[in-house]
């Protein structure tokens, strides 16, 4: 499978990256406004990794540095804006996790009732916390974190129209970014090797398939409603189709999908009630069309126990029509979480969550994230993830020895 250098995933990135550098070098004479942060983090795994593909991974430590920059400039009295957000991570263990990306390199023309953007962009859709079913524009940067919150920059032309009836958002997505996966010599890789550079696409145009997306969103009193339609290459690959049990490796297969999504939030008093639902249809008859949903509630208690602390309590339930054939870990799962804001001058916060598979009481995970400011431009972050699974058919089973705690220091500058 020979690809021209320009369309190959990594080379595609180089094209953008060096193009951006050239652009900024040209800007160098002008006044530059850079912000950013540098984070150093260290992970400690509770167990040595027992999974077959990583028999030689016995290191319990993983050290990593992340650099994020942001350049912003506006022109023509703010009518045009340019945003550039490069990203770089260097990892001590995983060559796949050592990676660079352009999170955004986006030109936008802003008018009162419309906005046109072109370049690499980042968009978020949805309301729930435990998973993001309707959020399909950007590819997940899975090597960053197993929670899937980190995303790759997506090439796009986007037109937004702000009307009294609501916000209309249209996307043309001319190039596909493949999901990143932890490498063979890494933890959290699901116990098998993903051949990152040999992806197979259902579309004959491969990454050059032009995807289209539409979204409508509006606020009706206490309700915030979003309806979306996506047609193109699934951001979520099928890792089972081309799985090779002899080598314990797989090649991601990206099918063509049409996905209808809805997200609704009702904000009433101290309550947030949330719903995300999708219907995903496949072009390939080998796949069965399905629907999936997440419903949830969040309640905020102010000044608990006579303190100044705020406590938010969250509960979400996820359902997937495919049940045990679901390609994600959420098919009949409950999430319960709590967010504690200390309201101190260091903006200290703790987020805690438990995910339980309701079909399998031995399967679940626990996470804890805490952060506080330790100096005016320095924050300390702690993250803990614990995975539990006893059934080898469970998607979480491969992570059972990858529970870890991570400590990070992030320095911000401008």
């Amino acid at each position: 499978m020979r690809k021209s250098w320009l369309v190959h995933g990594k080379n595609f990135f180089r094209f953008w990256f060096f193009g951006s550098v050239a652009l900024l070098a040209a800007e160098a004479s002008a006044e530059l406004s850079w912000d950013g942060s540098l984070e150093l983090e260290h992970r400690y795994f509770f167990d040595t990794d027992a999974s077959a593909a990583d028999a030689f991974v016995t290191d319990r430590g993983q050290t990593s540095a992340k650099l994020e920059l942001e350049f912003f400039r506006d022109f023509n009295d703010g009518a045009d804006t340019l945003t550039f957000e490069p990203f770089l991570r260097v990892d001590s263990q995983d060559d796949e996790r050592s990676h660079a990306d352009v999170r955004q390199l986006l030109w936008s023309r802003l008018a009162d009732n419309w906005e046109l953007s072109a370049g690499l962009g980042r968009v978020f859709w949805g309301v729930t916390e435990s998973q993001h079913l309707v959020d399909v524009i950007n590819q997940t940067d899975l090597v960053e974190n197993i929670d899937g919150e980190d995303k790759l920059g997506q090439p796009m032309i986007r037109f937004q129209y702000f009307h009294d009836l609501g916000n209309f958002d249209a996307f043309v997505l001319p190039f596909f970014r493949t999901r990143t996966f932890p490498g063979v010599d890494s933890r959290l890789n699901g116990g098998f090797v993903v051949n990152n550079d040999d992806e197979v696409f259902e579309a004959s145009e491969e990454e050059k398939h032009v995807d289209l997306a539409l979204r409508f969103s509006q606020t009706y009193g206490n309700f915030d409603v979003g309806l979306s339609l996506f047609d193109g290459t699934s951001r979520e690959p099928d890792l089972f189709r081309l799985f090779d049990p002899t080598t314990f490796s797989t090649t991601p297969f990206y099918p063509q999908i049409t996905q209808l999504g809805a997200d609704v939030q009702l904000t009433t008093g101290a309550w947030l009630l949330k719903l995300e639902a999708i219907q995903r249809d496949f072009d390939d008859v080998q796949y069965e069309d399905f629907s999936a949903a997440t419903v949830g509630a969040e309640y905020t208690l102010v000044g608990i126990f006579g303190s100044i602390y705020d406590l938010g309590v969250l509960a979400e339930y996820s359902w997937d029509e495919r049940d045990e054939f679901a390609t994600g870990p959420f098919q009949n799962d409950a999430f319960v979480g709590a967010r504690l804001a200390l309201n101190d001058i260091n903006s200290s916060e703790v987020l805690f969550g438990v995910i339980r598979d309701l079909d399998d009481s031995d399967s679940g995970s626990v996470f804890l994230e805490a952060n506080t400011r330790v100096a005016s431009s320095l924050t300390a972050n702690i993250e803990m993830r614990y995975f539990e699974a006893k059934n080898p058919n469970d998607l979480l089973f491969a992570l059972r020895d990858d529970s870890f705690v991570q400590v990070g220091l992030q320095y911000f500058f401008d």
Binding site: T300, G303, N343, I345, S376
Partner: protein, 262 residues
């Protein structure tokens, strides 16, 4: 002729005095509140730069810099948008609020790291605004209908004479049992506020200084200092670069456009 005029004026004076006497503390308090609001009508829109300095009991400090835009809304609470510049870890965060005379406010938060706009629950009006000693309800726009009033007395406040008026929030989710305000009689500007919590203990004192006149009509203060007597912490808000008639419209206060706020 002359006598009858005298008689008439006496009657008018008497009637006036009687109405004054007949005015209950509640009526007089309400009248003062209405005058505060009336003198601050018609400002349209404004923008300003804010510095919020948080100090804890040990004297440690955090400075938050932000830019604020506000829009006056006829017949309802104001709309406001705040963008944070420091501390750098929250830079780019934007907060949009539509305050309402009745019911909860509408509030959205834009989180730049996630590129996500979140509608947030606003019943937490008694909760601290960004870890400061100001509660959300302290920074919400002043609306006559939000409180009941009781005029207490006249009292000197600095070089001025103030009305002392008790304002009790009607909203049962307010964190205050009562709020006592000092309002100068010359221009109806709030000079000082004592906040009493639900147990009726004196929780906080707000001092407002440096009033300046804008557009020949609207008084705005440079500095607001909130001292919390319970925890020993304080927050100072300094306002700079206040501008009126900056051309903001309703379209600039849209949750869908919050992601482009800079």
């Amino acid at each position: 002729m002359h006598k009858s005029i005298q008689f008439c004026s006496s009657v008018i004076l008497l009637a006036f005095a009687l109405t004054l006497q007949a005015q209950t503390p509640a009526e007089k308090g309400l009248e003062i509140a209405k005058k505060i609001k009336a003198r601050d009508l018609g400002w349209g829109d404004s923008q300003s730069d804010l510095t919020m300095t948080l100090r804890d009991r040990k004297g440690r400090e955090v400075v938050r810099q932000m830019r604020s835009k506000t829009l006056e809304v006829d017949g309802d609470g104001d709309k406001g948008q705040t963008i944070f510049d420091t501390p750098l870890d929250v830079k780019g965060t934007a907060f949009l609020s539509f305050s309402h005379i009745e019911g909860d406010d509408d509030q959205w938060l834009y989180l730049p790291a996630l590129k996500r706009v979140k509608r947030i629950a606003s019943r937490n009006k008694s909760g601290p605004f960004l870890g400061s000693e100001f509660a959300f309800e302290d920074i919400s726009s002043f609306e006559v209908e939000k409180n009941t009033y009781a005029y207490q007395r006249d009292e000197a406040c600095g070089d001025l004479t103030c009305y002392v008026v008790e304002m009790d929030p009607i909203d049962k989710y307010s964190g205050y049992q009562r709020v006592v305000s000092w309002i100068d009689q010359e221009h109806y500007r709030v000079q000082k506020i004592d906040f009493y919590d639900r147990r009726d203990t004196h929780l906080k004192t707000l001092t407002i200084e440096g009033y300046k006149l804008y557009e020949d009509k609207f008084w705005r203060a440079d500095k607001q200092t909130m001292v919390n007597h319970k925890n020993g912490k304080s927050t100072v808000i300094e306002v700079k670069n206040i501008r009126f008639n900056t051309g903001l419209t309703d379209a600039d206060f849209n949750e869908k456009k919050l992601a482009r706020a800079r």
